[in-house]
Amino acid sequence: MDPVLSVEHLTGGYSRQRPVLHDVTFDMNPGELVGLVGLNGAGKSTTIKHILGLLDPFEGEIRVAGRTIRQDRLGYRQKLAYVPELPELYEQMTLEEHLQLTAMAYHIDRTTFKERSGRLLKLFRMEKKRHWFPSHFSKGMRQKVMIMCAFLVRPDLYIVDEPFVGLDPIGIQSLLDLMEEMKKQGAAILMSTHILSTAEQYCDKFIILHDGQIAVQGTLEMIKQKFGDSRASLHDIYLAVARGETKWLN
């Protein structure tokens, strides 16, 4: 089966003189939840921006379902949904209108919309806030709006950037449950996060980024084996990479 997302030899960033990412290569298959971890400044957000098509690769290419964004901009965008780290909302739109606009943009019919949005609103306990404007929302509620918009679409690929900060425990659990469900239905999810314990529990694979390069990637078992300590946690391994104890990688 074709990978949903393939990133090949991606070198990129904001200026050609000083690229942030160096030769990043990874694939994501349907039904995979991949954790993207790394220190602040390791290049997680830059990677995400490249995948979203907000930055042009200097070298290499990114394909979603086999196509690059240059080949088919709308088809590419149609296949992915994005939850940003900092929620950005239309300040002039109500929660309901956010969902409606998403439905319009991704061409979701009315019955599907009703069913999905009703469920999402209930799941995140926002039913009573349908007609509220974002100025009355807390950070966590704004985050929930972003998540609801993304999961309303049900695309093949989800890009989720540090989703847990600010969410209440029910919100976090609902998000994790939703991700599990989408995975079962064949979606691929790329999630960047610092909450390693949760990532360890839920992600199928990990990509540890360090200084713009992939230090190590694979299932936790594979990474542990490489690390040479089957009792090490993701946290231990991640710290080792971050501190530059990288002899085991080679």
Partner: protein, 406 residues
Amino acid sequence: MAELNRLWEKRRTDNFQMQLRYWNLIGKNSGLMFVLYAMIIIGGFYYKRWLDGLPEHFPGLLLISVVLSALSVRAPVRTFIQKADQVFLLPVEPELGGYFRSSRIYSFLVQSFVILVAWIVCMPLFFQMAGRNPVAYFLVLAAAFIVKGWNIDCRWQEQSIDDLIPLKILRGAISFLFLYSVTARLFIAVPAACLLIMLLSGAFLFHRQAARGLLKWDRVLDMENKQAMKFLRFANLFTDVPQLKHRIRARKLISSWFPVRSFDREHVYDQIFVKTFLRADDYFGIFARLTIIGMLVSYFIGNGFYTVFIVAATVYLTGLQLLALWKHPLPQALAGMYPVSFGLKRRSFVRLLFALLVIQTVALSAAGAAGMKSPAGFFAFLAAGLVAGGLFSLGYTARRIAKENR
């Protein structure tokens, strides 16, 4: 603490300079100054006529007391507190006494000036009602200042008190009674009693309760913002005030006329632009104001050729103002990610712009035709507006934004 006092000084000067810059812009608006002079002169003329025609038993003194007490009971304290202070100044809250004292004195001085102006305006009325007695009228001014000072002090104590409604009622009632007793020269015991109540309630009601409560920073911040906004909103009538941007109004009724009809990709940006136009910034306000001004001018000008020109010019000016809507920032994570082509966005915008200009044209033409009582004129004006609006939106704007290909 000296540093905190310096902080207050700095904020006051910053605010003063900011206001000065805006006043400068407002002053350059020569049309405004002219209107102001004209209003003072015309107002003075009619005021005199009104006074001459007053009946014997007109309750003029009561009116003066109402005006002065309305001005003195509303006593917000200008603190220049900013949102970040809730974090950075919170630890030194016990040492902010001097800072807030300066705030109260400043608020007293600024608001006393307003009272002074009102006092001067009321002077002829007072002399007409109570005879030419300057000493008595100066006593009224002194009383108004006392009331203002007391109200500002109490208002500040209220910032640490929870149950405000009885206190506000007390404040209003006593202030009015005191001012009326001085203005109408009631028996001396009445104002004296009021003064005593003011002193006692100030000490034992306001100060004592405040000492037990905590300062409600949110309320202080809210009070500050409201006052700051009031000036900026005024300045915004004459010039563009960036701080006022991105205010959202729900506009429930008018928004409900534009529900989501079909979940079609073609209409995403129709929705976004319509709702943004109605609710965000001041797009709708600008459109409404220009339309009303245009209608008034068209109605009163009464000359067909000029009206044609006015209609076309108003439509063009409105179109220019509405172009900003195209640049209204939309969230990258939502609108930026939609699988919707740029062409659809352009089409939605041009369509909305054209529709708005057509609506305006109809309104202007109707006003112009009504002013000239000529139904035929309506169609001439309509044609002029449609040509101007069509050229501007379908021609100029469509071509201009097509160049920004992305």
